[in-house]
């Protein structure tokens, strides 16, 4: 048996996995309408490349990737594009987001597609491109574009490929059932990954020991491939990327680093199946295995669900009893979020729709005061002090929160699970993280404003100093003038008027410069202005060329400079007369 390491903390909630494993993966009738959100992944949303009314075939690209960290979207079935608009999507905030709606025609006609079988002889770059074009993002939870993950760059060679088949959340069996039925294709997908990553030394499939059937299903396929199936004791949250890396390798992912920095890549097992379908069969990611479970549905089981299928479609086909339970959760009972309504679509990361009855998951009891019993700290897989974080989150003490490593919290919910006082701890941490991020943004902004203000102050002071220096020079001149004999005569009057006149005369005398000097000065001014004009015109030309919005500013500057030039020229002409 391969050595595994034990993570600190963790909890053992009731697994509740058997309910949805009584039947094989099922298929649902094609829903009348499919709603495909343009952002189902981390990164830039895809941009639609179809028009309303357009006919599309199954597998046709309907939205293109925008930029590197993005994925395209494909039509999950054939039909007509009936809307491109904002729709409610599966998001904790219940927000609306741009979606493409397809009214299906029921024919389910595939677009022409072709895969390759000899992936061993294809350049990894080309394989990555195929993965990217198939619209594959991580199917475990976060939804990070797979093609980006598979391209860690040459300076970070990958020695360990970790396939995450942990599925530590209670109730969810999507990966379990997929492994049982599709082990061969999954292993094929892992081999493709191995080829892309230049054959890492270690290829480990991490799986909890509560899935003996899945482990047995994998066994014949991994024989002689160098892939090891590593099982370890069931404990939530062993499936977190950081936890799984530690369990399998004994290495901790340093805070703020990616697995690639340790020479590792961690891929969900569902994603490997999608990669196999993309490369060998040429099929984009348009469906996934989703568990529908909970006591409020009559037949808990797994379905091969088209992306974009409304949750209501799944629930209706499972005789969902709305009276039995109060909430419908997308994901598992530990990290899943409640849906505002059943109108939201299944997306590429939806591994489970959980419709629990009140008996399974009762309404939350009111929170009692924290007695700092420390059960949360015992449960925390990241060795944080949840009770202290809670305290400081309430006090909004950001310094303390960061010193207690708030940002290393993976929001697994183990602390809230064990809390005897029913405190929604994770929600406090989410809110605190949001506040701190907001405060950081604000700080950047305010720093910027402060710098601008200080610069402005400095400039004004500089100008003031210059003026003061000029004034001082003039005073000096005036005193000298006063000291001259003429001024001395007048001073007998001692009147202030005489003083003023004298001062004015002195200033005039000081100002009086010879015509030659004046001419020379004017010529210098003209030369300088001409130069400025030239610069301004160049800038204007640039701005016009680049369609910059500063055009108006520059053209005004050119006008101004021209006027000044003309003024100086006319003065020079006057002087010459």
């Amino acid at each position: 048996m391969t050595k595994t390491w034990v993570t600190p903390g963790g909890v053992h909630p009731p697994e509740n996995k058997h309910q949805s494993l009584t039947q094989p993966i099922g298929h649902l009738p094609i829903p009348a309408k499919l709603v495909i959100p343009l952002s189902q992944h981390i990164g830039a949303p895809a941009s639609p490349c179809v028009e309303i009314g357009q006919q599309v075939l199954k597998g046709q690209v309907i939205a293109e990737a925008t930029g590197v960290v993005s994925i395209p979207m494909h039509a999950p079935s054939s039909g007509t594009i009936s809307a491109i608009e904002h729709r409610p999507i599966a998001h904790p905030s219940g927000m609306l987001a741009p979606c493409i709606e397809i009214t299906t025609d029921g024919a389910d006609t595939w677009i022409e597609h072709q895969g390759i079988s000899d992936y061993e002889h294809i350049a990894p770059r080309k394989l990555i491109e195929m993965v990217g074009n198939a619209g594959i993002s991580g199917m475990g939870g976060a939804g990070f574009p797979a093609a980006v993950k598979l391209n860690p760059g040459r300076q970070r060679p990958i020695h360990t490929l970790i396939i995450n088949a942990t599925e530590c959340e209670p109730y969810i069996t999507a990966d379990d059932s997929a492994i049982r039925e599709r082990a061969g294709e999954i292993i094929e997908g892992i081999k493709i990954l191995s080829a892309i990553l230049d054959h890492p030394h270690n290829i480990l499939i991490g799986i909890e020991d509560n899935k003996p059937e899945a482990i047995a299903a994998l066994a014949p396929h991994v024989e002689g491939t160098g892939i090891s199936v590593v099982d370890f004791p069931t404990k939530y949250p062993s499936g977190g990327e950081k936890q799984l890396i530690y369990i399998l390798t004994g290495k901790e992912l340093p805070s703020g680093k990616l697995p690639a920095d340790l020479g590792m890549v961690c891929i969900n097992i569902g994603t490997t199946y999608a990669i196999k379908r993309a490369v060998i069969n040429g099929e984009p990611l348009i469906s996934r295995v989703t568990t529908v479970t909970g006591d409020a549905v009559a037949t808990p089981r797994n379905y091969d669900t088209l992306i974009g299928t409304p949750v209501s479609h799944l629930l209706e086909h499972n005789q969902f009893n709305e009276q039995a339970g109060g909430r419908v959760v997308m994901g598992g009972p530990m990290m899943g979020f409640t849906l505002p309504s059943a109108d939201v679509p299944i997306v590429k990361t939806t591994n489970c729709i959980l419709a629990p009855s009140y008996a399974e998951i009762p309404d939350d009891e009111p929170a009692q005061p924290c007695i700092r019993c420390g059960m949360c700290a015992e449960a925390c897989p990241a060795s944080l002090l949840p009770q202290q974080l809670f305290w400081y989150a309430q006090a909004q003490d950001h310094d303390r929160l960061e010193a207690h490593n708030l940002f290393d919290c993976i929001e697994c919910g183990a602390c809230s699970y064990v809390c005897p006082s029913n405190i929604p701890l994770v929600q406090y941490y989410r809110a605190a993280k949001g506040e701190i991020r907001h405060a950081r943004d604000e700080k950047v902004k305010s720093d910027h404003a402060r710098e601008r203000f200080e610069f402005h102050q400095a400039r004004i002071e500089e100008a003031e100093r210059e003026k003061e220096a000029k004034r001082a020079a003039r005073r000096e001149a005036a005193q000298q003038a006063k000291a001259s004999p003429m001024a001395a005569n007048d001073s007998t009057a001692g009147s202030s008027a005489a003083d003023i006149i004298a001062a004015a005369q002195a200033r005039a005398a000081a100002k009086q410069v010879s015509p030659q000097e004046q001419r020379a000065k004017l010529e210098r001014t003209i030369a300088a202005t001409e130069q400025r004009l030239q610069v301004a015109e160049e800038k204007l030309a640039e701005a016009v060329a680049s369609q910059s919005d500063k055009q108006a500013v520059f053209s005004a500057a050119v006008e101004n400079t021209k006027q000044k030039l003309e003024q100086s020229k006319s003065k020079l002409a006057e002087l010459a007369e």
């Binding site: 340093p254 990290m335 009692q368 005061p369 950001h398 010193a403 290393d408």
Partner: protein, 354 residues
């Protein structure tokens, strides 16, 4: 259709604060039984009287604060405080001693600081210390253990005990006596062996002091139950008992006349076991991290020994716990656990680099 919006996690363990408190109450039973067996009905009466007073005080204050009385009484924390105070007080103490101590514990030490979860000091120990300082005579009059009763005498029965407590009847002669820690405090000039030979409290005992060793074993058993139920971790009790044992070994002085007593005597006398498993494990007023609790416990162990050996009080649990409560936030600042993905543990007072 619209569904309920609730944040994750949706699953919760069946544990709740009330159950934790109930389990603590249950775990005091072995100690209570030992006390009642060895010292009569006094502790039992203390405990009931304190509980009733505590619940009344808690209800009154919660009502004054405009909160739900049933919700806050339902957490059983007031009863736990009362039971611990009741067990700590001398059996057959006058009723008003118990009432005053409980009122102070609940009203001042707990509710005036904000109620459950907000008290910086262990409420039961605050009540105990107030009584000890205010009524030293009543607080240091202990009933003699079973083995030391004069021939033919028995502990007063329940009715008689109630009369002693409430009507101020004097207990029969020979019913009250010194505690092992008292004996050692006043035995200077005698070798430890001589003390053991001469004092019935020791020569009637198995290893630590007649009666007291049973009481401590009872609380040790209760503590083990709580430990096995993971109500608290081993760190606090281990720190305290370890430090106490270490201190008594260091200053054992081969049992000379200046020796403050053997390690066994210290571990199984007075409030050692009750303190280790039921008092310093109060999570609200202790340090939070495991490492912190180890240090917190060790600090109490050292303080208990120092006060017992060289202080003015024969036992010192209450003072030691309160002093350590003061230190808990400080300990917390320097005992953060090392978080996953970090090479070092951090300090809570660290500021972000700008």
């Amino acid at each position: 259709m619209a569904f309920k919006q609730v944040t994750s996690p949706h699953a919760h363990s069946a544990q709740n604060t009330a159950k934790v408190m109930q389990l603590v109450l249950l775990a005091t039973l072995p100690g209570l039984i030992a006390l009642t067996w060895q010292f009569g009905w006094g502790s039992f009466i203390n405990l009931l009287l304190a509980s009733v007073t505590a619940v009344c005080c808690e209800a009154a204050i919660v009502k004054m604060r405009g909160r739900s009385v049933s919700f806050y009484l339902g957490d059983y924390s007031a009863v736990v405080t009362a039971v611990l105070l009741g067990l700590a007080l001398p059996p057959l103490a006058p009723w008003w001693v118990v009432v005053v101590g409980t009122v102070f514990s609940i009203v001042v030490a707990k509710q005036l600081y904000g109620g459950l979860g907000y008290n910086p000091f262990n409420p039961a120990m605050v009540g105990y210390v107030v009584l000890l300082i205010s009524f030293p005579i009543q607080m240091t009059t202990w009933v003699a253990p079973l083995a030391l009763l004069p021939a033919g005498a028995v502990h007063p029965g329940l009715i008689e005990s109630l009369q002693i407590v409430f009507a101020g009847y004097s207990p029969a002669d020979g019913i009250t006596g010194a505690t092992p820690l008292d004996v050692f405090k006043h035995s200077s000039g005698l070798l430890v062996d001589q003390v053991y030979d001469r004092e019935p409290l020791f020569n009637q005992a198995m290893f630590a002091g007649a009666g007291w060793e049973w009481v401590n074993l009872g609380f040790l058993l209760g503590g083990m139950i709580l430990l096995s139920q993971r109500i608290f971790t081993w760190h606090g009790p281990a720190g305290m008992l370890g430090a106490l044992a270490l201190m008594s070994i260091i200053f054992w002085d081969s049992g000379s006349s200046s020796s403050p007593g053997s390690p066994l005597m210290h571990l199984f006398s007075g409030a050692s076991m009750m303190g280790a498993f039921f008092i310093l494990t109060d999570p609200v007023s202790s340090a939070v991290s495991n490492r912190g609790r180890l240090i917190f416990g060790a600090l109490i162990g050292v303080l208990v020994y120092v006060i017992r050996a060289w202080g003015n009080y024969p036992d010192a649990m209450a003072f030691a716990v309160l002093l350590a409560n003061f230190a808990a936030p400080f300990i917390d600042n320097y005992t953060l656990p090392r978080t996953y993905g970090h090479t070092d543990r951090r300090r809570a007072t660290e500021k972000q680099e700008d």
